[in-house]
């Protein structure tokens, strides 16, 4: 067996992209395997067991975060660690909204994360089509150029970049950050790699049907790449949401600050209010959770290329 995946791809005749029909097909095939069901159920029990153990191991620091968010500040960093607060300080969760303009910060973060994510997904998936499905001279060199810049740490060029932005009059505004972060190479690279897994036969057939390249991108490729779009959107959102250095350098006015900056304002010159920082961190995780729960629904096997079924 040399490479079954590619052999099969080559053999599979293209029929169409009627997704729903194919999904129904799959459901039917699922139902008829009753002798296996028993085996599958035991497998599931084992998987659940493994997952539960895993989840506990992964959540420990988060639990510390939660517990710290319910303590007085001078009870947080104790030696040894105290897992259960001696006294639950629920007021942290009401105080934080008045100690700092948390609501405003959340809105700013949300605005930045949404705009940057949308732009990144849109321009990234467009460019990725150019890099994977259209051939032209210099394409691969240009692509390596993209990847190459990811390798340069931001610390190395943030000052030249800042000077440039200052001359353009863009510092101390959201636009600076949007322009910097929306056109990164990350999205292009991620989407290109995903498009590579989509058989070229699909594009070819669409071409024969008379679709333009833009039509192929919008009507064939995009609908097929939902899982990749979802993961790109999710990861971009999280990275923008959690970014600290970028907003710190570019947003000076307090009214533009994001959540991450707001939380750092609890760090003083000689000490820090960790109880408040943890409270804010717990609150700032919630939007990410919501986005994740929405996004992860697109990670369902079988949607992507079920149109290939012969």
């Amino acid at each position: 067996m040399t490479n079954m995946a590619e052999d099969l791809k080559a053999e599979a005749p293209f029929l169409g992209t009627r997704i729903t029909e194919a999904a129904e097909d799959r459901r039917r095939t699922d139902r008829k395997r009753s002798p296996r069901e028993q085996k599958k159920r035991t497998a599931n029990v084992i998987i659940y067991g493994v997952l539960v153990v895993l989840v506990v191991a992964l959540m420990v620091p988060f639990i510390w975060m939660l517990s710290s968010s319910l303590k007085e500040n001078n009870q947080v960093l104790t030696v040894p660690i105290q897992w259960i607060p001696s006294e639950f300080v629920w007021s942290n969760y009401t105080d934080i909204w008045t100690r700092i303009p948390m609501m405003g910060y959340l809105q700013n973060s949300l605005y930045l994360a949404v705009v940057i994510t949308c732009l990144q997904v849109l321009t990234g998936s467009l460019a990725a089509y150019g890099f994977s499905k259209v051939r032209f001279p210099g394409r691969d060199v240009l692509f390596l150029c993209y990847i190459g810049t990811i390798a340069v740490p931001w610390q190395a060029y943030m000052v030249p970049q800042y000077i440039m932005m200052q001359q353009l009059g863009l510092t101390n505004s959201f636009n600076a950050l949007i322009l910097l972060q929306a056109f990164g190479a990350f999205g292009v690279f991620l989407m290109r790699q995903y498009y590579m897994t989509i058989p070229d036969e699909l594009c070819e057939a669409a071409r024969i049907d008379g679709l333009s390249e833009y039509g192929i991108w919008a009507r064939v490729i995009l609908p097929l790449s939902k899982p990749a779009l979802a993961s790109l959107a999710l990861l971009t959102f999280v990275n923008t949401w959690n970014d600290y250095m970028g907003p710190f350098i570019y947003l000076t006015s307090n009214r533009l600050w994001t959540v991450q900056l707001g939380l750092r304002s609890f760090v003083g010159q000689f000490d820090a209010e960790y109880a408040m920082i943890m409270t804010g961190s717990v609150i700032s995780v919630i939007p990410i959770l919501i986005i994740f729960l929405i996004g992860q629904r697109y990670f369902i096997q079988g949607i992507a290329t079920s149109g290939m079924k012969g």
Binding site: N74, L110, N175, P223, Q269, F270
Partner: protein
């Protein structure tokens, strides 16, 4: 396929919105200078958490109704990095606050600050503590308004319980013995340490340099030896929390002192304002006092170290003259009064200011505490030169290795000298 098209349009619209401007800014509104007023901008760190700035600005605005001060609020953590970046971009903030003298030397040496000898002369050169640090061949590019120095905080209740006298005129040996005596394990299994040394290298190195009259940028560090032996002895005997744990657990010195986990603690005067606030808010009930730092010699003289905080005028300032006037006020008597009211130690230290300071609500008023407040000599925590930052880095790394016990005191000190000489001094 309609949905895809719709989604694409939605994306495009959002994108367009994103570029039309900062529509989403939702924080507090930008303060605007009122009609006819001068808007003076001052770079500060952590405006909400550092009340001295507000005290100064409110005081100055009250005295000068034609000026509106606008703080440029920068996070404390990476303050110098942000200021450097802003200045590289040609920022026009009027007054720059110098968080430490190392940054000051960088800005001043590179011509980023205006000379303000006139301001310093008017305030009075002999009145300002820590002014020497800002002297660059007779020129001053900043004036200190605040001067923190180190003293010994102690928990009076723990001393009483152990039946020992207050820590008066201690030498380092007496201090070590006392710390060991005060270390106990309570009935509930909770350990109380005799003292707590925070992980900063200054706790060992700066005090040693100050009391030996040595220079930390010289490349010769033999004089650190006694102080390291003292620190390691305390750690080995369990009289202080060990360095590795304190560092990896990010132990808070405030937690150690405010929850009664340590009987003594060498720390800077900035903590006075913090502890006063914590007591006022009912977050701690520690019964505290101040004592002078332990000394090398028992001649009764007190030598400690400290570091000033200063205001400087940006080369690109929009309102240079107003900026200088503000600094003159802030470093002078009026400014000193304004910040001592909230427990911050001003650089201008005369008897009137000191008396006012001890009248603060919650300050210990015993003689020992007052004595702690008037050291005979206060050396600079780290000398000012263009080598300070690089030296500081090397000393920190080697301090780390000595304190976790990876290197012996002699090896560590030898390595410090070797590295500073080759990496920093270029010998």
């Amino acid at each position: 396929m309609k949905r895809t098209t719709l989604a694409a349009i939605a994306l495009a619209v959002t994108a367009g919105l994103g570029l039309t401007g900062c529509a989403g800014a939702a924080g507090p509104a930008e303060p605007k200078a009122a009609e006819g007023k001068t808007r003076l901008t001052v770079s500060v760190w952590n405006y909400e958490g550092t009340p001295e700035f507000k005290a100064l600005f409110d005081g100055y605005e009250a005295a000068n109704p034609n000026v509106d001060i606008e703080p440029v609020d920068i996070l404390a953590d990476d303050y110098p990095q942000k200021v450097t970046t802003m200045l590289a971009g040609g920022d026009t903030t009027d007054v720059l606050t110098m968080k430490n003298v190392i940054d000051y030397s960088r800005y001043a040496n590179n011509g980023q600050l205006q000379e303000i000898n006139g301001v310093v002369d008017k305030v009075g050169k002999d009145k300002l503590a820590g002014l020497d640090a800002f002297d660059m061949d007779g020129k001053y590019f900043a004036a200190p308004y605040r001067q923190d120095f180190w003293l010994l905080y102690y928990n009076k209740d723990l001393f009483k319980a152990a039946g020992v006298d207050d820590p008066k005129d201690l030498t380092w040996d007496q201090y070590t013995a006392l710390a060991k005596k005060l270390t106990t394990t309570g009935a509930d299994g909770k350990k109380v340490y005799g003292t707590y040394h925070h992980i900063w290298r200054s706790v060992v190195e700066a005090i040693s340099a100050a009391q030996n009259g040595k220079d930390q940028t010289s490349g010769d560090y033999g004089y650190f030896e006694d102080q390291y032996n003292t620190a390691l002895d305390l750690q080995k005997s369990g009289a202080t929390l060990d360095y590795g744990t304190a560092k990896s657990q990010k132990t808070s010195y405030r937690t150690m002192f405010e929850t009664g986990q340590t009987a003594m603690m060498p720390m800077g005067t900035w903590y006075i304002a913090g502890i006063l606030q914590a007591k006022k808010d009912g977050k701690t009930n520690v019964n505290w006092g101040l004592a002078p730092m332990p000394q090398k010699n028992d001649d009764g003289k007190v030598t400690t170290f400290g570091s000033p905080t200063a205001f400087a005028v940006n080369k690109n300032a929009v309102h240079s003259d107003e900026a200088k006037k503000f600094i003159e006020w802030a470093a002078g008597e009026e400014g000193a009064k304004a910040i001592s009211k909230i427990g911050v130690v001003p650089a201008l230290q005369d008897d009137a200011v000191k008396d006012a300071y001890f009248k603060l609500d919650g300050m210990p008023t015993d003689d020992l505490s007052k004595k702690a407040f008037t050291p005979d000599a206060t050396a600079l925590e780290m000398p000012v030169s263009d080598k300070s930052a690089a030296t500081d880095k090397v000393l920190n790394q080697e301090h780390d290795l000595i304190m976790v016990g990876e290197k012996s005191v002699t090896d560590g000190i030898a390595e410090m000298g070797k590295r500073v000489k080759s990496e920093v001094l270029g010998q």
